[in-house]
Assembly symmetry: D2
């Protein structure tokens, strides 16, 4: 993914993502965790300007120097930043200004491409993957902002099919053993630094659920007072539940008649008992698992299971399905089912991010890259949990067995769900 | 101010106020005290819909019922409200939607005018004065939001004249005595309920400064460590200074070369030592006064002085000067000087709101109006201080001796300044 | 009150107040507003050391210099202070250490008395009144700390009589007019600086309730959803109610059987419908008054009524009744009734502090004393409301018509109650 | 450790620990993380009452039922709890009351011992280890409370020797491989549930520092602006540093002359460059390691290294050295050096808890115990980091290679220090 074509393809997706939004929709920030759509569009552009154009293109002059501060996310080495929680305070630059900024940087990139050194080209590739990450964030964030509004707005209006009844829940056994996990440096496919190095790890025998937990199953937990049973909860989780008076997944609602509803990117829909439960925190996922007599998988168990199957079944993922940033929430094609490994393991990829009980830590031998880009992943390795598998909003190229997503266990505005695991004795 | 003409005139000013703003500028809310420009435009419209059209126009149907909640400010009796601090979270309705809402309500009002009963007409009048209050708030709020931006934006670009050197500060004696103050119900001019009833009050002899405190005088206080001298400060004020690390008036700044600057509605300007100090809190005003060996006036002293002069000098206020919402900060015409009472008392009206040391309390015999409108003023009578005189952003009709503005003593985003007073023995 | 005898008498009361307490009881601080008993004992001693011994006794050396910081309350001019909210973090000096400190200072005072200059003697007098104020605070604070404990403890065990049925509530008319209020400097009785100067004030005709509001009457307000009726509440009050989920006066409780109880200095008692309601905030008092179709009196109305009666009826206050710091809550002797003025006005003094709707402001011509002692009262003149009358814990010498107590309107751990007033047309 | 003798021995240590404290010292709680000494004494007693006497001794009646709530720490299954942050608000029960409660429970235990079933005896053993953990917490907490006082107090007055110059820092290589770690269920020695099960784990080759990081080395980090270099810090760590303005280890101070000092359990001492740095957070430890070009070890690396040496060198730990609760901070006997494994690895045990970079997670196959005691360790497995090795305040029986201590990475009031590690390629 190094050429002009890739650059233009990825960059145009971001622009497409806001095509149906009003300028006002691109400004607001309803909690500190989300960013305005406008900010995503500008920050991804800032990345190319800061890490490619300024250091590698002689004579390049930033059209708007103030953007260096405003659109820096967390790169301490690059200079001061605008406070994250105040991104929604900025009316300027306007959406039109940001689009103009994008065009200026894209034009400079087009002019520069031929003469960029190899090091810069690999930063371009990183920048495109970075932009794809923000494309997914943009969907999460727009959904959250619309969800916070008393006026019902659909990011992507349209019909959504009802899910078929879920297959019976089964725990599929895996032998484990001394295995190799992580992305190999020798691979010619892109991966983020935190996916490697590939390394040996001893995995104990385990069993993994053949599918995701459904809304209906999670409702049973709620109806049996799951949120009030201290014995199911981690101590921090119980504190979070009580402080914020949590009683259901993030977007579950009731209408005036008391009918259950769920807010989605397609607007408020009828609650579907067969759909995978989504927008639960890691604490809720762990409590549900404990209440079920199971547990969450480790990220190593998950990757081992996924890798053993991916060569066949998961390749069948339909390309048109994972619209970058335009999710068709709740259409779960049979193609997602992994059958190549001889196990009926489905829904591993592209449905919901699956909480693992693994804290986000560096792999053995991990070394962050040098320079400001080094801040990319390594500095978050504290307090977060790893999630695996990708969701409906994940760009297809980011759906792979080694991809390590990470969030704090209280966060649930990403598309997060639950797959159970068990020990095998 | 009861006819269609007044209605259209006042309503059109609000629309004019946002003519130079981008949609994005009308969404943001940089602190809970301010409201988005879009919100002001809609809330003032909601007032007419809620208090005039719905109760008095048979068959009127609100075009957007959700607006009842979103654009209710604090009228508990009318129903639930959107949380004040989250007004900036609403991207919808868009600015265009709000303008459409204004036109719909204005059309319904135009149709209804002839048949409105007297009670409704007096609510129309109240609604127009209410809208004028919001026109001033809109200017304060837009200025604050722009002031919080790292990108310098001017609400009203243009040249601003430098002030002439201030006249020597003098304290003009007033005799006081048993006087009548407040708005008389028998008057045929409009006043808010909190300006009455007119009542007797005993005022002790006092002296009032002939002009406002200047930037230069306030700088002297700062340079003599005024912010660090506990003996000058009220206890609550000192706590506020320390908690927020306050060191200067709100919009005072330094440029890269260390030159003093002041952010205004016209953008960042050269700091002017002769301009009246503006955007100081009540705590700062009281501390400056104590440090000066003086005190703030009571609201009664201020009104007595203003009333004794207003019949002549203040009438000379130039109409074109107080552009509603489009302040020419820092142009202090000689006409503002009150000379009719035999005293060289200037700058009483239309420059800056002048902090008094009077807590905002009801006048003897005050009774709030009945119904939801009763919440208008009475419910704020705790913890706030009275300010008098009007500022450059105050609509001209609101500049009168009896007008009682009120803010918490820590607030300084209104155009607030200082006039000193002293006891006379 | 200037001699050694007064000094010893007042000082010994403080020591008596803690006679029944354990050392542990004297350390804790259950909210920032209260202070540990130990702190009161030391701070009142610090006052004499700092303002009398150090400046006026040559060669005096503080036995423990660190106490200057620890036991300074708010005198900025005297130097740094230990943070108020952390007074309960100090295990040292122990109670025994503080008692030793008291004895050392008392001995030095005894040696110094004869040679003290007049100025110092007036500081001694101020210090004794200051200590008496802290004697009342100590009772309030010990009650609060015990009330916060899951283990029921009585500060003053013993039997408490049930109140007789309250007299019918009547509003007694007063003519008002141009009157003199406040403490006269020419008087030979002690008063705090904020009680003067005596000054003219115009008071409009008003009516004052003949007695305090009872528990039973306040219960009726509660049962009619008084806490949920926005129209009765000041805006700040409603915010306070909602933020803290206030539903009843501070010490009202229910036992396991659902019986109403009230926590008192005598432990938890049966709730008495005839007792004056106590431990309500100013916000609750104002809401109750509004709900009743009445209002709170101004401090001037209260003083005028009290003064007109005090020469006869109130003089009958029984000396033994107002035990300093050892309140007999709920014994309301007939002697408290003011009948000398021809009005059946009772319960004006020594029952509960009566909220007025007057913000705490300086009287006309008020000048704080010079020096550090000047911080005594003047610096609090913002945001607080005036209360009048004294309570069961008030030392008898502080029960007088001109005494101005002041608290923030949300505070209710003092012994605070309600007397209603009305306009007279 | 099951008999009456063990019971009496362990229980008496707790009493000894407070022998030199005043009652006031046993009440205060200077931050929510610490508990009053009195609370520790009562809570450890509550454990025996709740888990041994009440379920296993027919007819046992708790002398003070209210203590069930007050002295429950976090056992949700046992019922309501007193809020942790308000433990310092309780003056009652007094220290004397708590001592009486201890004697009552001890007497009941003595009577019950012979007839206790095996299950109860294992809860007694757990209770004694639990009490030993609180003995260490008591030392940490008393130190913190004294450290927060403006009056300098020493928990254990006495002379403390200066440390010898540290040996040169060396990184000792370990081969790693597929190893067994954790406590074996078949062992006849006590371990907490979270130390097992013993399990296979693949450990990559690594190198471990031969000694702890010294004060002098940490000072070098500070002097080279270590606290201001974002590239060394985890993102959460940098946020913590900035929010709390952290600039040095917890107890480092300067005296009036600018000399560095360190507050210890022996009072404020001269700062010793050769002593191991202590009272640093996990964030500080990780930042120091990154700045040094090294990293923190994983808990598995640490245990592997410790286990390989412990059979010889560490056995030499002098019994009298680790006084429970009476630490001799800063006396580092040669006996602590592990030489048996052919490596000069010292200071592994009983000096300071050594931060690892391992998040606190369950071992493969971990199952919490059933019943309320199950809450003991499992529910904290989120957000905390593992520490190894024990400190000067750790009871000797808790100093073992498999012991897993855990704290949040911002906490530093335990005796926490740093040992470095590196990858071996």
């Amino acid at each position: 993914m190094r050429g002009v074509v890739d650059y233009e393809r990825v960059r145009s997706v971001s622009v497409d993502q806001v095509a149906t939004l009003e300028p006002e929709d691109c400004v607001v920030q309803c909690m500190p965790d989300v960013s305005p759509a406008k900010w995503h569009l500008a920050h991804t552009t800032w990345f190319f300007e800061t890490f490619v154009l300024e250091p590698h293109v002689p004579g390049y002059r930033a059209p708007s120097p103030a953007f260096r501060t405003i659109f820096n996310s967390y790169y301490e080495a690059v200079g001061p930043r605008h406070p994250r929680a105040e991104r929604g305070h900025l009316s300027r630059p306007t959406l039109a200004d940001v689009m103009s900024y994008r065009r200026q940087v894209d034009a400079a990139m087009a002019r520069a491409f031929e003469s960029l050194p190899a090091q810069a080209l690999s930063l371009v590739e990183l920048g495109l993957h970075h932009e794809q990450q923000h494309q997914e964030l943009l969907v999460m964030d727009v959904k959250y902002n619309f969800g916070a509004s008393p006026i019902s707005v659909a990011y992507k209006p349209g019909q959504v099919a009802t899910c078929e009844a879920a297959r019976p829940l089964q725990f599929l056994p895996f032998e484990g053993g001394l295995v190799e996990l992580g992305h190999a440096a020798s691979s010619d496919t892109f991966a983020f630094d935190n996916e490697g190095p590939r390394h040996e790890r001893f995995v104990h025998p385990f069993a993994l659920a053949n599918r995701l937990v459904t809304n209906g199953e999670f409702l049973a937990f709620m109806l049996e007072d799951g949120y009030e049973r201290p014995e199911s909860w981690l101590s921090d989780g119980l504190g979070w539940v009580r402080q914020h008076d949590i009683r259901a997944p993030l977007y579950w609602r009731s209408d005036a008649a008391g009918e259950r509803r769920e807010f989605t990117a397609h607007g408020e829909l009828k609650w579907d008992p067969n759909a995978p439960v989504c927008h639960v925190s890691g604490y809720e996922a762990a409590a549900f698992a404990a209440w079920s007599g199971a547990r969450l998988p480790t990220e190593f168990e998950w990757e081992l299971a996924a890798a053993s199957c991916s060569s066949t079944g998961f390749a069948a993922l339909e390309d048109g399905r994972l619209h970058p940033g335009l999710p068709a929430e709740r259409s779960y094609p049979a193609e997602g089912r992994a059958i190549g490994c001889g196990k009926e393991l489905s829904q591993m990829f592209g449905e919901v991010w699956q909480w693992t009980r693994s804290a986000y830590e560096p792999y053995p031998g991990f070394r962050p890259a040098q320079g400001a880009v080094a801040e990319y992943n390594g500095k978050f390795m504290s307090g977060q949990w790893v999630l695996r598998g990708g969701c409906v909003a994940t760009p297809r190229g980011h759906v792979r067995p080694t991809y390590r997503n990470f969030f704090y266990p209280h966060q649930r505005w990403p598309f997060t769900g639950i797959r159970l695991a068990k020990d095998v004795r």
